[in-house]
Amino acid sequence: MLSISNVETFYGNIQALRGVNVKVNSGEIVSLIGSNGAGKSTLLMTISGVNKAATGEIKFDEKNIESLPPHDIVNLGISQVPEGRRIFSRLSVEDNLRLGASSNDKGKNFDNDVKDVYDLFPVLKDRLSQRGGTLSGGEQQMLAIGRALMAKPKMLLLDEPSLGIAPKLVNQIFVAIKNINKEKKVTIFLVEQNAKKALELADRGYVLVNGNVTLEGTGQDLLKNKDIQAAYLEGGGKK
């Protein structure tokens, strides 16, 4: 469904991705793990078109998307939940959700589409007229995911959904991600520092080190891998 081949991305002179190859098949949950500064978020930003790949190819449903602007990529069916949630804190929760539907049908079926989001995260329904910034971290993450789902994506890119969230809510959010994948049939590409959680959830996983993919395999295999245990999972893994 999504295939990334030999992608290199730069920030000015600094090379963040050094020829990354990643494949995501339809219906899968794929996790990408790595430490700070490995290039995980850069890869997601490159897929969604916010950053541009200098070289390499990104194909989505057999169509090259590496040179498309972000809004066209969203229209093709790739939605992104950006790192740090980036909800619109001074707008109401409802406005945030409506903005998620700015692509495809411009929110004409908003009332219908939003029901799916309420099913997933009932708490958002009670908070509808509140400002986004007044939600808790976990609720904001739910809002960010719900907002991305309003575009009715075929594929969801999640950037560190566990970042800065109470452990109890992290579990809730990972359950929700699983539901989105299984029930709504949305393919998931997940970037996480919480390697253990991410690999447990994933069908397959990739390890990114200094802009290179160093390991790949099924989630279970990677969890058992000695190197990964030493680097990312020792002592219960990073929080």
Partner: protein
């Protein structure tokens, strides 16, 4: 504790007095007088003393009552709070009262020509403020060259009306379209700029337009300005005291006495309607996807991109629509003055409009009105004291910044609110 605070306040105010002395000593205290072809220095130390004392005492009082957050009796916590509360909760009622008042205003017994002129000027600024509020308040693009669109609107109205003899109602939309086109013209090069950098470029754009108008003599008559701009007519009926043979004018058509106030009142209602259209448009568009996209863009551009909002189109429409209303206001200005020159479109105009939007509370429609009444009203009240006008203007800004640092009406409700507890 209390004593220590007192001491630091006194120290601080003495220091303020020292700074005031250093500043005003040379500026105010030393006056040069040319006498018998010799330049003499006449000191005026008494005035300097007064200024220094006012500064020091003022600083002491603000220290005691405004910045002292522990003290519950401070001005900030009593008068300031109650004003804040009133403005925050009664915003809607204030707006409604203001609209009703402005509709009946021309027929109130104390209304005279002078008041009408001020009211028309205020409404023009209110309309400009509302137009700029789209760009600054909603889309969050700090535009310091808004007067450029005002100028484009005024000049395109004037040129079309003079050379083609088209009526106000045809020229108005044309002026709006021209201004919107200039908005896009400004928008394109600044798409990638944000914050301070955007402000600098827009400022330069405003100056460019003014200098262009000043130097393109063949078209704009440069510093001489354009004269003889046709006055607007009441749906084809001109306002004239002595109609030509067989010509219908406003007063002959309605069979009433001619009165120069008729045209003024018509102009007043014209700008009132134009301003209210601007307001209504803004209120409506905030609930549409494009308006929501503007506000989202103000909040977070990257999040917007990742949600499929096209930032280019969103910014350009904000610039274009904001500029269009500036253009409408400009053509009104031209038809009211019947004379325009680049003099009327200097940077200070842009600064006043930005001040109105920012001091009113960015994004607040009612705030724009309050700030206009406050600032323009103050300038007018001080008209007789020529040289003190700008001091009063600056003082008003300082006061607003002390008491309402985020604008007169800072708290903005979410665009959409739901009825309380409609569902169980």
């Amino acid at each position: 504790m209390e004593k220590k605070f007192f001491q630091t306040s006194i120290k601080d105010s003495l220091f303020t007095g020292l700074i005031a002395l250093a500043l005003f000593g040379p500026i105010v205290g030393l006056r040069t007088v040319a006498k018998n072809e010799v330049l003499e220095v006449h000191p005026k130390w008494f005035i300097v003393l007064i200024i220094v004392v006012v500064c020091a005492v003022g600083r002491f009082l603000t220290n005691l009552y405004v910045y002292n957050r522990d003290q519950k009796t401070g001005i900030q916590s009593s008068i300031g709070k109650s004003i804040s509360n009133f403005l925050d909760t009664k915003g809607y009622q204030i707006a409604l009262t203001a609209i009703i008042f402005s509709v009946i205003f021309p027929f109130l017994p104390f209304t005279d020509r002078y008041l009408m002129d001020i009211a028309i000027m205020m409404l023009t600024y209110i309309m400009l403020g509302w137009g700029l509020n789209i760009v600054i308040g909603l889309a969050g693009l700090l535009d310091l060259g808004y007067v450029a669109f005002y100028a484009v609107g005024a000049y395109s109205y004037a040129l079309f009306a003079i050379h083609f003899g088209w009526s106000f109602w045809i020229c108005l939309p044309i002026a709006g379209i021209f201004a919107a086109m200039f908005g896009v013209l400004l928008g394109f090069p600044v798409l990638r700029l944000r914050g301070d950098y955007l402000a600098i470029v827009t400022l330069a754009f405003g100056e460019m337009i003014r200098i262009l108008l000043l130097n393109w003599y063949q078209l704009t008559k440069g510093p001489d300005g354009l004269t003889g701009i046709p006055r607007p007519s009441f749906f084809g009926l001109p306002f004239k005291s002595f109609p030509d043979e067989g010509e219908q004018t406003f007063h002959t058509f309605f069979g009433i006495e001619y009165n120069p106030m008729q045209r003024i009142i018509f102009l007043y209602y014209l700008i009132l309607v134009l301003a209210l259209i601007t307001n209504l448009f803004t209120i409506k568009i905030r609930r549409l996807p494009i308006g929501r996209a503007w506000e989202a863009l103000r909040e977070d551009e990257i999040a917007c991109k990742s949600l499929g909002v096209n930032p280019r189109n969103t910014k350009l429409t904000a610039f274009a629509i904001g500029a269009m209303f500036g253009g409408f206001a400009g053509s009104f200005f031209a038809t009211r003055q019947a004379f325009i020159s680049p003099e009327s479109f200097t940077f200070i105009e842009s600064a006043i409009i930005v001040a109105i939007v920012v001091l009113g509370g960015m994004g607040s429609q009612t705030g724009v009105v309050l700030a206009t009444v406050f600032l323009i009203g103050l300038i007018e009240v001080f008209r007789d004291f020529e040289s003190y006008r700008m001091i009063a203007f600056g003082g008003a800004m300082v006061l607003i910044m002390i008491f309402r640092p985020r604008g007169i009406l800072a708290t903005r409700k979410p665009t959409i609110t739901l009825e309380k507890s409609s569902s169980k």
